[in-house]
């Protein structure tokens, strides 16, 4: 039997767990302020997570999906993208969204069950959070098709989780993007778990980077806790996409250091030892160490940063808590450009009964 096709998956890591460079660092790392900005955003995410979980625990927020542990991937993807690009997130990639201009207040408002949180003032073209797993992948292919039709220099970036790659919609989108060489990058955030299902039980694939091979789309795996490595790999994938060479599947290997959401209790299914080991390679510390080694950062700046983040977060929470209360009209006003007769009548009915108390 002769061999007619061969494929390989590469692995990229630039900063190891101690923050030591283990590869030639790319161009962008020359710019220290940029690196610091990335680190600052990572820390903001981490601290915001703590705050949001606390708000939920104290009844001031709905179910919340934390991002702790995945900050390097999220921030690096944001930093590699351009403003005109379109992001199709899942629900926990706050680092990317913050970089692109989504506000902490919008994030809280969304998790408080208020649609105004998805009306981003910043990245007007970005898709909101996508709860139905896998369904965002075709949106990215569609946005990319629009860019291709209009000959625009933009790219779409679609996130998906390790669990999400089991959804057919993801494969359909990857196949389409490959067939039409669409300007899109599919980022698989392999954080080890899909709620209680470990990645190893989700698929026989030894990597998630290879998820596109069946559909003729190349893939690369990167240490998702290495903010420099992820950004480098993303910049290459985005450049390739913009050059009309087609999509890439990027697997970022990281770890969900939190529960799945505040409604979940990972201790029911996840070995404590695995979690402890994951904490040893988490992304923030290694980034800080690297910045310190480059004299771009020190303890004083660290404590200053944490203080600033605290202030920024408190301000966001305040704005969130002071936002106008939702009115029943809001349920009816945005369904259609031209509302139907039935809707107009029902809107009056809803006004009449308002928002009853729970019994």
């Amino acid at each position: 039997m002769k061999t007619i096709a061969e494929f390989a998956i590469g692995y990229e890591q630039m900063l190891d767990a101690d923050g030591s460079p283990v590869a030639d660092l790319p161009e962008f790392t020359r710019d220290g302020t940029e690196l610091v900005r990335m680190y600052r955003t990572m820390v903001l995410c981490r601290l915001f997570d703590t705050k949001a979980i606390n708000l939920q625990r104290t009844g001031r927020l709905g179910t919340y999906a934390p991002c702790t542990g995945n900050e390097a991937t999220h921030v690096a993807v944001g930093a590699a993208m351009r403003p005109g690009d379109v992001l199709c997130p899942v629900y926990r990639e706050y680092g990317t969204q913050l970089w692109r201009g989504v506000t902490l207040t919008e994030i809280l408002t969304y998790w408080a069950g208020d649609e105004t949180g998805t009306n981003f003032k910043g990245p007007r073209g970005d898709f909101p959070w996508c709860v139905p797993i896998g369904s965002q992948s075709p949106h990215a292919a569609g946005a990319a098709m629009a860019f291709k039709i209009r000959k625009q220099p933009h790219c779409a970036v679609a996130y998906i989780g390790d669990g999400g790659t089991s959804q057919g919609a993801f494969h359909e989108a990857v196949n389409m993007a490959g067939a039409q060489k669409l300007p899109v990058v599919f980022v698989v955030v392999n954080n080890g778990w899909a709620i209680s299902v470990p990645a190893a039980e989700q698929t026989a694939a030894q990597t998630f980077a290879q998820k596109g091979l069946g559909n003729g789309v190349p893939g690369v795996q990167v240490d998702g806790n290495d903010v420099i490595g992820v950004r480098a790999v993303m910049e290459q994938a985005l450049a390739r996409a913009r050059a009309g060479e087609g999509p890439t599947v990027v697997e970022a290997v990281t770890y969900r250091l939190s529960d799945h959401t505040t409604a979940d209790d990972a201790s029911r299914y996840r070995p404590a030892a695995e979690l402890a080991a994951a904490w040893k390679i988490e992304p923030l510390l290694r980034t800080r160490r690297y910045l310190e080694s480059r004299k771009l950062w020190d303890a004083a700046q660290e404590s200053a940063l944490r203080a600033e983040c605290g202030i920024q977060i408190d301000a966001a929470v305040l704005a969130y808590q002071n936002r106008p209360a939702a009115h029943t009209d809001a349920m009816f006003d945005h369904l259609f450009a031209q509302p139907t007769a039935a809707l107009t009548a029902q809107k009056q009915l809803a006004r009449r009964f308002g928002i009853p108390d729970k019994h």
Binding site: F120, F127, P128, P132, H139, A141, M145, E172, A173, A341
Partner: protein, 325 residues
């Protein structure tokens, strides 16, 4: 003025929309070189190129999902699903995204998308090619559902659907595709959405139907007229929203209502019409409402499809029942 079939009028409207608006993109399975399995897109790829008239991979969920992504970028996607029985893989994107995007982003992102598909049976097609599933879409807020009954109405309603800034499901009555021809003026004039149309005025009974069933219903009305029974025939046209006012006005005049549809009876769209009359026109009713529908069974393979599709005889029988009352 061209004398065309319904499927040709669809082709005219698509060509017009593509010519008028550079943002219009037609996509679907076999819509390109092949011009669609029913020829609805014949010649369009040759005229407008491979970017604006696209063959997609074989995946309805992908087609609907891409339409969401393209629509959010402002493209007016007109997607074809080859047969309504193949709509299921697209329902997640239609219901969870297309119908919701404007609402959940408070108007920031929208979906100016039309999804066209053949609706109903009667052409001796294989399994899964004869389904009438309008209610699955009508139940979802955020969608409009339209079903024309003639070449003229197909042309005008499809243009209206494409120009509407929100998602519209456009159901094309398969067995009317080539049945009757009409003069269609390709003048780019759209017909109004959200409105039923009265195909025939009458005094004794109101018959409400849509799509291909207008054919059997009008024929029943003809035969009944020979017995001096005068039927008002309403083509619902807009399956969602339903133009209840037109129906209620007619029932106020006739006092009798027979609803005819091809879809299964249980939880079919006819129930919504009957329910609304029971709520708002109870005292106008001189007789119980009648529904003449497909049976509550799996759409049979075609050997029995004529026994499944409501017949002229069944419609006449139902009208007689209401006159007994």
């Amino acid at each position: 003025m061209a004398i065309v079939t319904l499927v040709e009028s669809i082709n005219l409207a698509l060509g017009r929309a593509l010519a008028d608006d550079p943002d219009v993109v037609v996509m679907g399975e076999d819509v390109g070189v092949n011009g669609g399995v029913f020829r609805a897109t014949a010649g369009l790829q040759q005229r407008f190129g491979r970017m604006r008239v696209q063959d997609t991979p074989l995946a309805e969920g992908l087609i609907a999902g891409m339409a969401v992504g393209m629509g959010a970028q402002g493209l007016k996607v007109v997607a074809e699903i080859q047969f309504m029985g193949f709509i299921y893989p697209a329902l997640d994107q239609i219901a969870n995204h297309m119908a919701r995007l404007r609402n959940r982003t408070r108007g920031r992102l929208t979906c100016p998308v039309v999804i066209r598909m053949p609706h109903g049976g009667g052409i001796h097609a294989p399994e899964h090619h004869s389904e009438s599933l309008e209610v699955l879409l009508c139940h979802h807020a955020g969608l409009r559902v339209v079903c024309p009954s003639s070449p003229v109405r197909a042309y005008g309603l499809l243009l209206a659907a494409i120009r509407d800034p929100d998602p519209v499901i456009f159901l094309e009555p398969t067995r009317l595709y080539r049945m009757a021809k009409q003069d269609v003026l390709d003048d780019g004039q759209a017909l109004p959405l959200d409105e039923a149309s009265i195909l025939r005025e009458g005094d004794d009974v109101t018959l409400v139907t849509w799509g291909a069933m207008t054919h059997e219903t009008l024929r029943a009305a003809d035969l009944l007229l020979q017995e001096k029974i005068s039927c008002e025939v309403i083509d619902l046209s807009s399956l969602s929203p339903i133009d209840h006012d037109t129906i209620l006005d007619s029932v106020a005049h006739t006092g009798r209502l027979v609803i005819v549809h091809e879809a299964a009876r249980n939880a079919g769209l006819g129930a919504e019409i009957a329910a609304t009359v029971a709520e708002h026109a109870l005292y106008d009713l001189l007789a119980p409402v009648e529904r003449v529908t497909g049976y509550d069974i799996v759409t049979p393979y075609f050997a029995l499809e004529r026994a499944y599709i409501p017949s002229v005889e069944r419609i006449i029988d139902a009208v007689r029942n209401t006159l007994k009352g």
